[in-house]
């Protein structure tokens, strides 16, 4: 049976069908999960996709983390289930405390929508197990608040524990230590600002996102 990936929708989420489409292109099945439901059903993995959950009011992800579905996502993650937050989904996961750090406004105060080159820093995560350390991937970004920040102690821990999953080759937004994506201690929860679901088709200019989302399907 195909791997089922639950894709969470909050009011204001807008990348859910990109996520479903790329999952299905890679042989999985996508299932939309409404934010007001506190049950994920029998999904094998979860994507928290991009957009503007609850309008990004107050702070991106600040209101979304109180949605009932996030309790279910936290339990799923605590049981080792693979969870990936993309862009606004990454912001939601940091606000929910499932990932360390926070996403600040871009250093240049510009909304950035462009391809970026990423370097795979570890294969010990649910998003990179199909990749090789050092792989360079072209994956687009599309954000205003993607400037990853955390305190020095957290940064030292992320480095020591090999939890920086992806770095930018040419840091576009001011993120500390060029960080584009991190994982939790269990390595089953990953957040990243770039959009791998928008890099799974030649028509979109890159298929480099497939190794990432394919890894998620393998992990499920």
């Amino acid at each position: 049976m195909a791997t089922t990936v639950g894709v969470v929708i909050f009011p204001g989420t807008n990348c859910e069908m990109d996520a479903v489409s790329s999952v299905e292109r890679l042989g999985g099945t996508g299932r939309l999960l409404w934010h007001a439901d506190d049950d994920l059903g029998d999904v094998d993995a979860v994507i928290v996709p991009g957009g503007f959950a609850h309008g990004d009011y107050l702070r991106p992800g600040a209101i979304a983390r109180f949605s009932p579905v996030m309790g279910a996502v936290a339990r799923f993650a605590a049981d080792g289930g693979p969870v990936v937050g993309i862009c606004n989904g990454f912001q939601v996961l940091t606000e929910a405390g499932l990932l360390p750090g926070a996403l600040q406004k871009n250093a240049g105060l510009k909304f950035l929508c462009q391809p970026t080159m990423l370097r795979v820093e570890t294969t010990e995560s649910v998003l990179t197990r199909r990749a090789e350390v050092g792989d360079q991937l072209s994956v687009p970004i599309n954000h205003f608040e993607g400037n990853y920040t955390c305190d020095d102690e957290t940064l030292a821990r992320l480095r020591d524990e090999d939890r920086v999953v992806l770095r930018y080759l040419d840091n576009p937004n001011g993120s500390v230590d060029d960080i584009a994506g991190v994982c939790n201690e269990g390595r089953n929860v990953v957040g990243l600002m770039p959009h791998p679901e928008r890099a799974c088709d030649d028509l979109l200019g890159s298929v480099d996102g497939a190794v990432l989302l394919g890894s998620l399907l393998d992990a499920a």
Binding site: A102, A107, G108, C150
Partner: protein, 84 residues
């Protein structure tokens, strides 16, 4: 009793403030010299029902810590006074 609450949210020291830095850089071009340490935050105002000012402050600070600020990047000060 009802109390007016003013929450002043600021970025913590050491956290980059691109909006503040951009404003500060623009000021000399507008003829404002000698203005430094510009920082941009936000204020949140609300009223809260509580038995006394201590309870109102405790509840407002709890709300502030759990929701209105992200302690990774933000600090806040809470001012409470009886609603007029």
């Amino acid at each position: 009793m009802r109390f007016d609450v003013l929450v002043d949210v600021r970025l913590r020291g050491g956290i980059a403030d691109p909006a503040g830095a951009t404003i500060e850089r623009a000021l000399p071009a507008l003829g404002y010299e000698g203005v430094t340490e510009v920082s941009v935050g936000k204020t949140v105002r609300f009223t809260i029902e509580a038995a006394d000012v201590t309870e109102a402050t405790t509840r407002a600070e709890d709300l502030c810590a759990s929701f209105l600020t992200n302690p990774v990047i933000e600090d806040a000060s809470v001012t409470v006074e009886a609603a007029g």
